[in-house]
């Protein structure tokens, strides 16, 4: 079996990951590093990472339509978002923490810095979390988020999206990203989504409508798999240069 051992430098993400400086997304201009990232060998520090114990997840956390705890239900198109977390060899990543956040159906976040005049929904916090099961499967029940305006450029609107934070098996697999919905005309106008360098990689961020996930008389179903870097390193067997 092929292993990446400690001491090897693995890279090759440049077709998938955005550049730090992406002029069209204005906030990158004063926050992107200007010096080259330093290539370092992978050590046990990078090949380990926090496991599922960092959060006490309850089943209610995965139901964003009700987890505001008000007794009421969030307003909006009820959707199921499910999929698998896989490593880049297609192996499921079990028992890993996913945290999500999103705008409400009107495109408004429950956040002091979101002040545009979209209505708030008292029954929607817009946050959830769950652990993947043994097959790497996660599942959230939520409402479809709305698009919302932002101040990046004149008449700028973010396409509807759900933010995902994923840990995976090690520091190498840590990922924060956004899931988009199919057939949204705002995709091509959105500098954040377009910062992903290739069409193929951008498609990875778009969920698929899946009628098999849709539940009759209840909720529309979307499927979205997340692929993170895998844990192939074999610690303590390294031949270091």
């Amino acid at each position: 079996m092929e292993h990446t051992t400690i001491g090897a430098i693995i890279r090759g993400d440049r077709e998938v990951f955005p550049p730090y400086l992406y002029e069209a997304y204005q906030s990158t201009r004063r926050r992107a590093p200007t010096l080259p990232l330093i290539d370092v060998p992978l050590t046990i520090s990078e090949l380990t990472g926090p496991g599922p114990r960092i959060s006490a997840v309850t089943p209610e956390d995965a139901d964003l339509t009700r987890n505001a705890g008000t007794g009421g239900e969030a307003i909006g198109q009820r959707i199921i978002v499910t999929g698998r977390v896989l490593d880049d060899r297609g192996n499921p990543v079990p028992n890993t923490l996913l945290e999500i956040w999103q705008a409400n159906a009107a495109g408004r976040y429950l956040h002091k810095r979101d002040q545009w005049p979209g209505p708030l929904d008292p029954n929607f916090l817009g946050m959830g979390r769950c652990l993947t099961n043994e097959e790497g499967v996660y599942r959230f029940l939520t409402i479809r988020p709305g698009a919302y305006p932002w101040k990046n450029h004149p008449n700028a609107w973010r396409p509807a999206h759900i933010h995902f934070s994923v840990f995976g098996p090690s520091m190498l697999s840590r990922l924060v990203t956004q899931m988009y919905f199919p057939d949204d005309p705002l995709h091509s106008l959105d500098p954040i989504m377009q910062s992903i360098p290739t069409e193929e990689a951008r498609k990875r961020l778009i969920a698929t409508y899946d009628h098999n996930v849709t539940e009759p008389e209840w909720a529309l179903g979307y499927r979205w798999d997340i692929v993170v870097r895998g844990p192939y390193a074999t610690p303590f067997e390294a031949e270091v240069r």
């Binding site: 001491g7 004063r30 992107a32 370092v40 926090p50 060899r89 520091m171 990203t177 992903i196 990875r204």
Partner: protein, 194 residues
């Protein structure tokens, strides 16, 4: 073996705090009362390219326990586990761009079969305007083993090493290591391609 296309990174954006920094998701204090090791506080700011504090960043840390063992199945080293210590921390930055942790000083972990690394803490930074998170390391200024650390000495250019070394201070009996993270410009932190 065919490699699957990875899912790309996107910014954490400005609105992550209610989810990622809710009371039971943030983790400033890594220790419990029984945790073995020297108690330390880590404190610093995140600055942008204009030297302005970044008030909407998130800093995560990952570290070994005081014996030099990670709480993770991939670490099969001889050092003992400390079951009271996970080694993960998560802090937002406040309006002044400041983050903080209370933890223990980690022990040395292996670099390869022969060599050890100097004690260090893995640091990850997220914020609006960062399309990918940034990865760096905190080293401790009072550690003589820094002089033999393979990453620091063989990979980090000499002129950038100082950005990774946190000075030790004492404040009212608390040991504080100060670690400012400069995203861009003069004194830019050395970030790793991890």
């Amino acid at each position: 073996m065919t490699k699957w296309l990875l899912t790309g990174s996107q910014t954490v954006g400005p609105f992550f705090a209610p989810a990622l920094l809710r009371e039971d998701a943030r983790r400033h204090v890594l220790t419990q009362s029984e945790t073995v090791g020297e108690r330390i506080r880590i404190e610093g700011h995140v600055f942008d390219g204009d030297g302005v504090p970044v008030p909407d960043a998130m800093v995560e840390i990952w570290q070994a326990n005081a014996h030099g063992r990670y709480n993770h199945p991939a670490d099969q080293g001889p050092a003992p586990l400390d079951l009271t210590f996970i080694g993960f921390g998560r802090s937002g930055t406040d309006d002044n761009g400041r983050y903080w942790f209370e933890t223990i000083k980690p022990g040395r972990v292996a670099f390869d079969k022969e060599r050890l690394q100097a004690p260090h803490i893995c640091v990850t930074v997220f914020s609006r305007g960062l399309l990918n998170h940034l990865v760096t390391r905190l080293y401790f200024a009072d550690e003589s083993s820094n002089a033999d650390d393979p990453i620091l000495q063989q990979y980090v250019p000499a002129e950038r090493r100082a950005t990774l070394i946190a000075p030790r201070e004492q404040h009212n009996g608390t040991v504080v290591y100060r670690f400012d993270i400069i995203l861009q410009g003069a004194g830019e932190t050395a970030f790793f391609n991890v």
